[in-house]
């Protein structure tokens, strides 16, 4: 049995995300959302996304500074239902 979370992106996409299946960035790509990224490894900050509500869990600790209210979807998974502004 897996836990999935509901992730809302840019107020228009509603995804169901299984955190064991990959990063939040991959989940957005799977849903055909236009994503922003460079390194895909937490060290460039290009994927920076507003975390309007909810919590994420970092599977790799990012080296880029995560400003309060932001997240880096290339290296995290949802830890609750999320509302994102990517």
């Amino acid at each position: 049995m897996t836990t999935t979370f509901r992730v809302k992106v840019n107020g228009q996409h509603e995804l169901t995300v299984d955190p064991s299946e990959g990063t939040l960035l991959e989940a957005m790509e799977a849903a055909n959302i236009d994503t922003h990224y460079h390194c895909r490894d937490g060290f460039c900050g290009a994927c920076r996304t507003k975390l309007v509500s909810g919590d994420v869990y970092y599977i790799n600790e990012p080296l880029a500074f995560v400003r309060p209210g932001d997240c880096l979807p290339c290296c995290c998974v949802p830890a609750s239902d999320l509302d994102l502004d990517h």
């Binding site: 236009d34 922003h36 990224y37 460079h38 390194c39 895909r40 490894d41 060290f43 460039c44 900050g45 290009a46 920076r48 600790e61 080296l63 880029a64 500074f65 400003r67």
Partner: protein, 376 residues
């Protein structure tokens, strides 16, 4: 005050600010005030590479077949990148090491600068392969007006900080007259110069390379100059780390997790910091204009390149707490991303022709007849 290469006072680096505290004595990394810099060092070292490992010899044939407009684009970009890395290979060391106060940041600065010297060496590697004598290309860097304009903006903040630090270290705070000019040296003034300098370096690492990167990868999209592209991908990966380090410094100040006076200065000089960034954006757009003065190249033109600069600038500015100033929110060059992904650097699809990745081999013997009759 005067710098000592081994500060004999007992100091606790865990309570020192990043800059302008006590100078570092013991290079120890078992404890860290800002562990991020130790992590950046580890990551950067794990990226270690040597230009000589990349075989660029096939690029020569490609280069000879480029149109003259494309040759202008290719060579001008290499000149500009050579300038940027010439500055970055020395300036963080000269400007920041005399004033840094925590060992992990001190070592990060040295590691960072060292990698910039690898970048510089790689431009020589690329150019030596294209020209029997690349002197003309290197010599133009200090003559070319377009490059000079940028050089001034890039070096001026470093030079100013270095000069004031020298005054402070020899005379202490106060009014100091040098060659008839009076300089008011105070700690506040020094910290302001440091703040502006880091903002200028941040803008450099954030956007100044991306016009050139886009041209390189646009050639690679056409299967041209692939040795060069391989090298630039390694450079781009390093530049991302450098950028993250300057973003970290700026954010640590802004959020007051370091020197409270730097937090005040960050607020006080916010508009100036913004202006530094916006000027860099303008200069990059002008650079795109200069590159395409003789004609465009397939897949790129001035307009789309300027849109890309705006797109990147938005991302970079939001990372340090500014609002995105441009309306370009979507990526106008989506293919850029595949060259900027960290994992792909080692195992890109193009490396199927493994011959372009020979370890430790380079044939730099080029005869005049190889070069045919093209002009620089």
């Amino acid at each position: 005050m005067s710098y000592s290469t081994f500060n004999k006072n007992q100091i606790n680096p865990l309570t020192e600010p990043m800059f302008f505290g006590n100078s570092v004595n013991v290079a120890r990394y078992d404890q860290q005030k800002h562990s991020i810099f130790e992590k950046l060092i580890e990551k950067q070292i794990s990226f270690f590479w040597r230009p000589e490992e990349v075989d660029v010899s096939r690029d020569r044939v490609d280069f000879n077949n480029l149109t003259s407009a494309e040759k202008h684009i290719f060579i001008s970009n290499l000149k500009y990148q050579t300038l940027l890395d010439s500055v970055q290979g020395r300036s963080p060391n000269i400007a920041l090491l005399p004033i840094v106060s925590i060992p992990e940041l001190e070592t990060w600065i040295e590691t960072w600068s060292f990698f910039e010297t690898i970048h510089s060496r790689s431009y020589t590697h690329i150019l030596r392969n294209l020209f029997t004598d690349p002197s003309e290309v290197f010599e133009d860097i200090v003559i070319n007006e377009e490059i000079q304009k940028r050089a001034n903006d890039i070096s001026q903040y470093y030079d100013d900080l270095i000069f004031y630090t020298q005054l402070w270290q020899t005379h202490g705070e106060g009014e100091i007259e040098v060659h008839g000019e009076v300089h008011n040296v105070t700690m506040r003034e020094l910290k302001k110069k440091l703040f502006l300098c880091i903002n200028s370096v941040n803008a450099l690492e954030a956007i100044r390379f991306y016009v050139s990167f886009a041209c390189t990868f646009a050639f690679a999209e056409r299967d041209l100059m692939e040795g060069n592209s391989k090298i630039i991908r390694l450079i781009a990966r390093d530049e991302n780390l450098h950028l993250v380090s300057t973003q970290q410094i700026l954010n640590l100040w802004q959020y007051g997790s370091d020197d409270p006076e730097m937090k005040e200065i960050a607020e006080e000089l916010r508009e100036e910091a913004l202006a530094i960034f916006m000027k860099a954006v303008e200069q990059e757009k002008e650079w795109a204009h200069y590159l395409f003065r003789d004609g465009s190249m397939i897949g790129l033109n001035e307009e789309i390149l300027c849109q890309y600069v705006e797109y990147i600038a938005n991302l970079r500015m939001e990372a340090i707490g500014f609002d995105a100033p441009f309306k370009q929110r979507s990526n106008p060059l989506p293919w850029m991303n595949k060259y900027l992904v960290s994992d792909n650097v080692q195992v890109a699809p193009q490396e199927a022709e493994i011959s372009s990745y020979l370890v430790g081999q380079i044939d730099s013997q080029v005869s005049a007849s190889d070069l045919g009759d093209f002009d620089l």
